[in-house]
């Protein structure tokens, strides 16, 4: 029998979760003092750091300036030590540029950019440790960092992956599950309005399964939004305690 059994007959996944359960999420906001906003998130073993600068004047080429809204600039990178195999990762390789672009698209849909015409918001995210769902960890970390920076958004942007094993959709895949050969879908959702900021799927999936998979991913995103909301409230409480004196 080749490969590993991703979902046992008893309904447990490799790491002991059930199909719709998320990995343990831990997050902190305001981890860097010098940035306008920052956050660190752990989703299982995937760890990401996000830093936000801005809004500020557009730097570099003036031609990028938008006179009706802010420009969002995203940069994604992975630490050399983030995967089991140590690899030098040159800046701006195809994968990171693509990821940067996806992040940009995601946050253009969520941030109220029209409030800051002719300005720029920089979002830097780095994956410190990678164990599946890099995109979602980045989105979630960046959301927290944006909140930390006090930049107005329509809603939290929550992202999560979902995959397909036999006929069961699995939420929040870890690396072993992602590389198990099935189809992975990444979804970034604005939970309250249920608007989709970005959805991405690389492999082929039969049309009949799409709705089920989307629903599983959306459900996971809604779950995550509650966690993120909790993190923000906790942070506010801590900050307000500190500022009271």
């Amino acid at each position: 029998m080749a490969g590993v059994e991703l979902l046992s007959d008893q309904g447990y996944r490799l790491d002991g979760r059930k199909a719709s359960e998320l990995r343990k999420v831990q997050a902190r906001m305001g981890v860097f003092a010098q940035a306008d906003g920052s956050a660190y998130i752990e989703q299982g073993n995937t760890k990401a750091l996000a830093v936000v600068y801005g809004p500020h004047e557009v730097r570099g080429s003036r031609s990028r300036t938008m006179h009706d809204r802010a420009v969002i600039n995203c940069q994604y990178s992975m630490a050399t030590f983030s995967t089991a195999e140590r690899k030098r990762r040159p800046h701006g390789d195809r994968k990171s540029s693509e990821m940067s672009l996806h992040l940009k698209q995601t946050f253009e849909a969520a941030v109220l950019t029209q409030l800051y015409p002719r300005s720029q918001i920089d979002i830097y995210v780095k994956i410190l440790q990678s164990d599946g769902g890099n995109y979602s960890a980045c989105v979630n970390a960046a959301t927290l960092a944006l909140v930390d920076a006090g930049i107005p958004m329509r809603d939290y942007v929550c992202a999560c992956t979902a995959g397909f094993v036999e006929d069961t959709p699995l939420a929040d895949l870890c690396h072993a599950e992602e590389s198990g050969g099935g189809t992975t879908l990444a979804l970034a959702l604005l939970p309250r309005s249920r608007h989709i900021a970005l959805v991405q799927m690389d492999a082929r999936l039969h049309q009949d399964h799409l709705d089920m998979l989307m629903e599983a991913a959306a459900e996971a995103c809604r779950g995550l939004s509650k966690v993120l909301d909790g993190v923000v409230r906790q942070h506010l409480q801590e900050v307000s305690v500190l500022t009271r004196d």
Partner: protein, 954 residues
């Protein structure tokens, strides 16, 4: 949502990679017992009253087997007696890792509701998860995990208020593990102890597999095989090229010889010859092995000797005998430089492919002995030593035995008794054997499968009529062999106003009833085909569908999938239409009845007119097909007249073909081709098609030689050339010659196979001379046709698609299974004909019949008796008396016996009788009676009592 859990990191290092994985521990994993009140399990699996009567455990108990017990004693665990077993996740994972077939069997047992097997996910349970300690081996850690889980169970259950005496019992054969478990206060037994203590079923003991330390005790023989290399060394050797990996094929006729088919790059594969007991080194037919080539000077030629391992059971004498044989076999090799083959020896086993084997017990000469040798029906399998107390009851019975292992100091593998099939020679038993040996699934359909059948009474609904073409008014009829109850196809033909003809092929709409993915569908996909044996049919789908709802019987309304053409009088297709439909067949005819109607000029009803139209078109179609180079080959086919009461064969006849046979066939071919084009056009990546590759030219050597012996030339450049030269090959005064030649040509052909269009580029169907082909017309008895129906239904928007249908890899896997099942069904069918031939000749004494020589061999001729379609070998070598002078000329090929030369196609007379000297391998014996060669031919008793003469002349 997210349940916060303590989590532990598990590190797995392999090479330089360090893999960190999360491992969540949960507190919502239930124990699965009915008595427990603490767990919130809604449907507990383990019964409160878990009683297996045992001398050792007088209290109700749950069993917890360890990994080795599951792997070695799966036959015991599968027994209905054994219930309420806890399978730990640790055990299940280890089994999965170590043996895929056993993993499947234990999973089947877990799914069986009657068995009350419960899987406890101990690795994710907060209280039963343990971490590997420093210096602890993975095996020891797993053993400890099993003990911890067992301990947890015994404590957990004792907390339940009405648990009573309920306890858990750990089963392990590992001494160390047992001691440690006892120390921690667990009830633990060796599997053997426990099984022996069972009161209800003492026979279960026979099914105990021998474990390795016991095995060493019982063998005292002098054969010592070389040690098998460990897998790591084998892999390194294969990489470096010192060893070759291949599948082991034992020689059917010589137990001291085998071939290893080495899987080479691409399609190329080479053969390595292995000779001698020690070189064979305990490999069993179909095992995947590693071989090492011997130096060139030690290469040998395949022996042409027939050697059957028939030594007596007496161990010592037997060994000596065997050794002598080995020596003799190896000495008697002719040193012919040209025929030397790469020769090697088996150095290790990569994968065993053992299955339970059918066969018979050879009783030990020592009366009280419980150790006996078992002789498998398949001669390629070695004899197996088993232990049983029921030897005297099992004598003369066909039984099943599984191999447990083959220690290096044992002449034979050790095994254990699985079950008895019935008395040997009995038709039912022998049929069961041939089904098992050909891996034909033939158990009754399970409840799960039957639950997907339509509820009776069933009728066509308004809904059905709305989405289907109503063709009930058409004069549709079916033409089949007599007694056919699963009618797949029906036809109609009518003249249109514009002078053209409308022809319809209506096929049973099986895919309407069998929906993708349900248990019924899975079962049909696994069976792949209906298997027709003499007097018995093993259905692919339950009878309600095969003989009733799907069967296009006359005068009932049935759902069909129709393919309708408009043709001109010249049988050229003007348009093709596919539609789901409702039909009402007006008549179910046999080929003979249909033929009579066509020939009887006084009949002029609609059915007859329709048949005549079809027949006329079919002739044109056939002519055109043959023009293109389609082959008409023949093989002798026999049918048995089966006595309706005893079901014994009372007479046999060769199948005769009528015009109507080919009429139906012609339209089925046309429908298949039309459908193949349509589905390929629509789904170029995932159309299920059927191809028949052209054979390599060397396959025809025997045919060309045979024809040239009669001064004829066979051209093989193309199918067309072959077909034409076969047509021209006539010998004056020998009308049967052409048929013989076609029989030979059939043997040169390749197997036709199913394939998925996205995985292959060669679609050619050589035999039918069609660039594309598929199977559409028999969905009741072939699963391929069901898939084709589904594809076609999607193509015409009559049904929805589903993921697996569009997945070319899944479809390729399905094709593999279908090809395997079809091949096995064919073999089973042949075996069944052979069995019935034997039964037929059993009570008929010795017959003297005319036949033709089909092949000439070094020491024998192979004779075909056209009257019975029977093929047999006449040997000229005798064991007990001196053989006649033989000389063989390969060029002819000619075999000269004394002074009489035998050529291919010579007419001879032979006596036919049943040889039952070996009850397990009864066979038809043929001996030469004409031409008369003194000392070789036998004389036929002329005055045979009239009564005994079979009534074969019809």
């Amino acid at each position: 949502m997210l349940k916060s859990k303590t989590f532990v990191k598990k590190t797995r290092s392999g090479g330089v990679m360090k893999i960190v994985r999360e491992h969540y521990l949960r507190d919502d994993i239930w124990c699965g017992s009915e008595v427990c009140v603490e767990c919130k399990d809604e449907t507990p699996v383990l019964q409160k009253d878990a009683c297996i009567e045992s001398n050792l455990c007088t209290f109700p108990h749950y069993l917890i087997p360890d990994t080795n017990v599951v792997i070695q004693q799966i036959d015991i665990l599968e027994d209905p007696l054994i219930r309420n077993v806890i399978i730990l996740q640790t055990v299940l994972q280890e089994v999965r890792h170590r043996s895929a077939p056993i993993y499947k069997r234990i999973k089947d047992a877990i799914h069986d509701k009657e068995k009350h097997f419960y899987t406890f996910t101990n690795e994710h349970h907060r209280e039963t998860f343990i971490e590997r300690e420093q210096g602890e081996s993975a095996n020891d850690r797993n053993d400890r995990a099993i003990r911890v889980a067992a301990k947890w169970y015994s404590e957990h259950l004792s907390k339940a208020p009405d648990a009573g005496d309920l306890k858990v019992v750990l089963l392990t054969n590992d001494r160390d593990n047992k001691e440690k478990a006892e120390k921690s206060g667990l009830i633990v037994y060796k599997c053997e102890e426990y099984v022996k203590s069972l009161i209800a079923n003492p026979e279960l003991v026979d099914r105990l597999a021998l474990t390795s330390d016991e095995q060493n005790e019982i063998t005292g023989s002098r054969v010592v095989f070389p040690e098998h290399l460990p897998l790591s060394k084998i892999q390194a050797g294969i990489k470096s090229g010192t060893f070759l990996q291949g599948t082991f094929h034992a020689n059917r006729d010589n137990y001291l010889e085998a071939k290893v088919y080495v899987h080479g790059e691409g399609d190329e594969s080479t053969e390595v010859l292995v000779q001698g007991l020690l070189n064979l080194n305990r490999a069993v037919h179909q095992d995947v092995v590693a071989v090492e080539l011997l130096p060139r000077e030690n290469w040998v030629a395949p022996s042409s000797v027939v050697l059957i391992d028939d030594a007596q059971n007496d161990e010592d004498a037997e060994e000596e005998e065997a050794e002598k044989k080995v020596r003799k076999a190896l000495d008697s090799k002719p040193a012919q430089g040209s025929t030397l083959k790469p020769t090697g020896r088996v150095v290790g086993i990569i994968k065993r492919n053992w299955r339970p084997f059918c066969g018979m017990l050879l009783q030990s000469h020592i009366k009280e002995s419980t150790r006996h040798l078992f002789t498998p029906a398949d001669r390629r399998i070695p004899r197996i030593r088993i232990e049983t107390r029921q030897a005297s009851t099992l004598e003369g019975q066909r039984i099943m035995v599984a191999i447990d292992g083959w220690p290096k100091n044992s002449r034979y593998p050790n095994g254990h008794f699985v079950k008895s099939l019935g008395s040997a020679g009995d038709k039912e038993t022998e049929t069961e054997v041939l089904l098992l040996e050909h891996d034909v699934p033939h158990l009754p359909f399970s409840q799960a499968v039957l639950s997907f059948l339509p509820k009776m009474p069933w009728s066509i609904t308004e809904e059905d009529l709305k989405v289907r073409a109503d063709l009930r008014h058409l004069t549709v009829c079916s033409v089949d062999p007599p007694g056919c109850t699963d009618i797949d196809d029906a036809l109609h033909c009518r003249e249109l106003e514009n002078g053209n003809l409308e022809v319809g092929v209506h096929i049973a709409d099986v895919s309407h009833f069998i929906r993708p993915g349900n248990a019924l569908d899975q079962e049909a996909a696994s069976r792949g085909t209906t298997v027709y044996l003499c007097g018995k049919r093993i259905d692919m789908v339950p009878e309600l569908l095969s003989s009733n709802l799907c069967s296009l019987r006359s005068n009932v309304e049935r759902l069909a999938f129709s393919c309708i053409w408009e043709m001109n009088q010249n049988a050229e297709i003007i348009s093709t239409r596919f539609t789901k439909s409702v039909i009402n067949s007006k008549a179910s005819l046999t080929y003979a009845e249909a033929q009579m109607r066509i020939d009887d000029t006084s009949m002029n009803d609609d059915i007859t007119k329709s048949l005549r139209g079809l027949n006329k078109l079919a002739k044109i179609l056939k002519g055109r097909r043959i023009e293109k180079g389609a082959l008409t080959l023949s093989s002798p086919e026999v049918r048995f007249h089966i006595d309706s009461e005893t079901h014994d064969p009372i007479d046999l006849q060769t199948k005769e073909l009528m015009e109507t046979n080919s009429m139906v066939e012609e339209f089925m071919l046309l429908a298949n081709i039309s459908v193949a084009q349509k589905i390929y056009e629509e789904f170029s990546e995932c159309a299920l098609l059927r191809k028949h590759p052209a054979p390599p030219p060397s396959n025809y050597d025997i045919l060309i030689k045979a024809a040239s012996s009669k001064g004829l030339v066979i051209y093989i450049d193309s199918a067309k050339a072959l077909a034409d030269s076969l047509n021209d090959a006539q010998v004056e005064g020998f009308p049967y010659f052409n048929t013989l030649l076609r029989i030979l040509a059939t043997r040169c052909m390749m197997q036709a196979v199913y394939f998925c269009s996205g995985m292959d580029s060669d679609f050619q169907h050589y035999g039918l001379a069609s660039p594309i082909y598929t199977h559409f017309t028999s969905p009741i008895r072939r699963y391929s046709d069901i898939i084709v129906h589904r594809l076609l239904a999607v193509a015409i928007n009559a049904d929805s698609t589903y993921p697996d249908l569009m997945d070319k890899h899944k479809q390729a896997a399905l094709c593999n299974n279908l090809n395997y099942r079809h091949k096995m069904a064919q073999y089973a069918q042949r075996a069944s004909v052979a069995l019935h031939t034997q039964l037929f000749f059993k009570n008929r004494g010795i017959l003297n019949e005319e036949g033709f020589i089909l092949f000439v061999r070094k020491n024998a001729i192979i004779v075909l008796i056209p009257k019975f379609g029977l093929e047999g070998t006449v040997f000229f070598e005798n064991k007990d008396k001196p053989s006649p002078r033989l000389s063989f000329d390969e060029e002819g090929p000619t075999l000269t016996v004394e002074d009489h030369p035998f050529h291919m196609f010579d007419k001879v007379k032979v006596t036919i009788s049943l040889d039952s000297s070996n009850i397990q391998h009864q066979k038809i014996r043929m001996a030469l009676s004409e031409p008369v060669i003194p000392g070789v031919s036998v004389s036929m008793p002329e005055t045979e009592p009239e009564a005994k003469k079979p009534k074969l002349d019809r």
